[in-house]
């Protein structure tokens, strides 16, 4: 099996995993919510009628179908050699397509934020409550996981420098990559801080549900950073041992791993039955 065939197999899994499998799980979940917690019994969950909710889900479904068709078209052009240059396939192709595949998720995020804003506007409760305790990062993720994040980062730098013979210069790929990783880490730290201490998005969400969802999001950030450190190391090995032709395969596998670690983790652990929907019932 040559590299191109292997890439096509990996790319097929990228298309179906990100544009079919996970979207279908999200749609099934939404359908379950609509059927089991309808607007008639849980009006606070639908600040803009359940039709609006359904329209958003339909849009989500069709954007994913479009992405899947586009992916299959890309696969056809790769197969016919139209997208393959003299140096082989551009490793950024799976990444570019991945960015398109993430658009529906961003749409859902935007839709969720809009719903939360409407919920806040319609919140008529006189009583507002808060916990008399500061929230800290270690309330949401274990110290072990945080240590693993730091270790993976420094582990990457150490192995990277070893591969480069401990020559520290401005052209050192390890230093450039570690800088990119650091920016990513700072971004996730900022996001975590915002999630922990920022304004409550859903005014009705129970404290337990909020704690659980924030905890899971921060855990996915940690797993993402660890995966990125691993990927950077593999990318460095690819450059060092001149294995650039397999880079598109590694890139696609890495992106799929990222989605499994984030979306897959969230879907697997944030069971719908564990979410307190009673808070959305009419008063």
């Amino acid at each position: 099996m040559n590299e191109m065939t292997l890439f096509m197999l990996v790319f097929v899994t990228q298309i179906f995993l990100l544009s079919a499998y996970f979207p279908s799980r999200i749609l099934r979940r939404s359908q379950y919510v609509l059927e089991n917690y309808p607007a008639s019994t849980h009006p606070k969950l639908y600040p803009k009628s359940s039709q609006y909710f359904k329209r958003a889900m339909t849009l989500y479904k069709w954007v994913n179908i479009f992405n899947m068709m586009l992916g299959l078209a890309l696969l056809y052009f790769i197969y016919t050699g139209y997208l393959v240059g003299e140096k082989g396939l551009n490793p950024m192709l799976p990444w570019g397509y991945f960015m398109l595949q993430m658009i529906p998720s961003q749409l859902l995020e935007f839709f969720g934020m809009r719903l939360a804003k409407l919920m806040k506007q319609q919140d008529q409760r006189r009583q507002k409550s808060a916990q008399l305790k500061p929230r800290k990062l270690t309330d949401y993720v274990s110290a072990k996981l945080l240590a693993a994040v730091i270790l993976s980062y420094f582990g990457f730098i150490l192995i990277g420098l070893y591969l480069e013979g401990f020559v520290i210069s401005s052209e050192s790929k390890t230093l450039v990559m570690s800088g990119i990783l650091l920016i990513g880490m700072l971004f996730f730290i900022g996001m975590s801080r915002w999630l922990i201490r920022g304004r409550v998005k859903d005014p009705y969400q129970s404290e337990h549900s909020r704690h659980k969802s924030v905890s899971m999001v921060i855990k996915t950030f940690c797993y993402t950073i660890i995966a990125c450190s691993g990927f950077m190391l593999v990318a460095l090995l690819v450059v060092t041992f001149d294995l650039k032709t397999i880079m598109p395969i590694i890139m696609s596998l890495f992106l799929q791993l990222l989605v499994i670690l984030s979306m897959g983790f969230m879907l697997h652990n944030n069971c719908i039955e564990d979410i307190d929907f009673d808070v959305y019932k009419s008063a």
């Binding site: 009583q127 507002k128 008399l132 500061p134 409550v200």
Partner: protein, 133 residues
């Protein structure tokens, strides 16, 4: 990771009692009921303001009053903590003390023949002078 349920406070946004007073009273009550103990850390002003959906300045005012009454102590960037003597200090009601002192003073003015309007004007003048208005 076990999720321990901490002390919760509740604010009525339509109550006639000002929001900052409700906050002060509830935190003092929590101290008296030993739901929070000396040395316990309190949430930051911003966190509490976000959670209660109120202005930062309202929470800051409540914290300032609690610090004045030595119920809480601010330790710079480390945060705000319950004062070691908070339990005893909670029972000191400065408003009650002010009322008592004013009642005694006004009573002595009246005994001396000063009219209520004269007392009111003098009181307003002194209050304005002391705040520099």
């Amino acid at each position: 990771m076990e999720h321990i349920k901490p002390m919760q406070i509740s604010i009525d946004i339509e109550s006639a009692t000002p929001l900052f007073s409700q906050l002060v009273m509830q935190i003092k009550q929590a101290v008296q009921d030993e739901k929070v103990k000396p040395g316990d850390q309190l949430p930051s002003i911003r966190q509490l303001a976000y959670d209660l959906d109120m202005n930062n300045k309202t929470v800051a005012k409540a914290y300032r009053l609690l610090e004045r009454d030595s119920v809480i102590v601010a330790k710079g960037y480390r945060g705000t903590f319950i004062h070691p003597e908070a339990q005893a200090n909670c029972t000191i009601d400065l408003n009650k003390w002010v009322r008592k002192e004013l009642t005694n003073t006004i009573q002595s003015f009246r005994q001396a023949g000063v009219t209520d309007s004269e007392i009111r004007i003098a009181f307003a003048d002194v209050l304005n002078q002391s705040t520099g208005v």
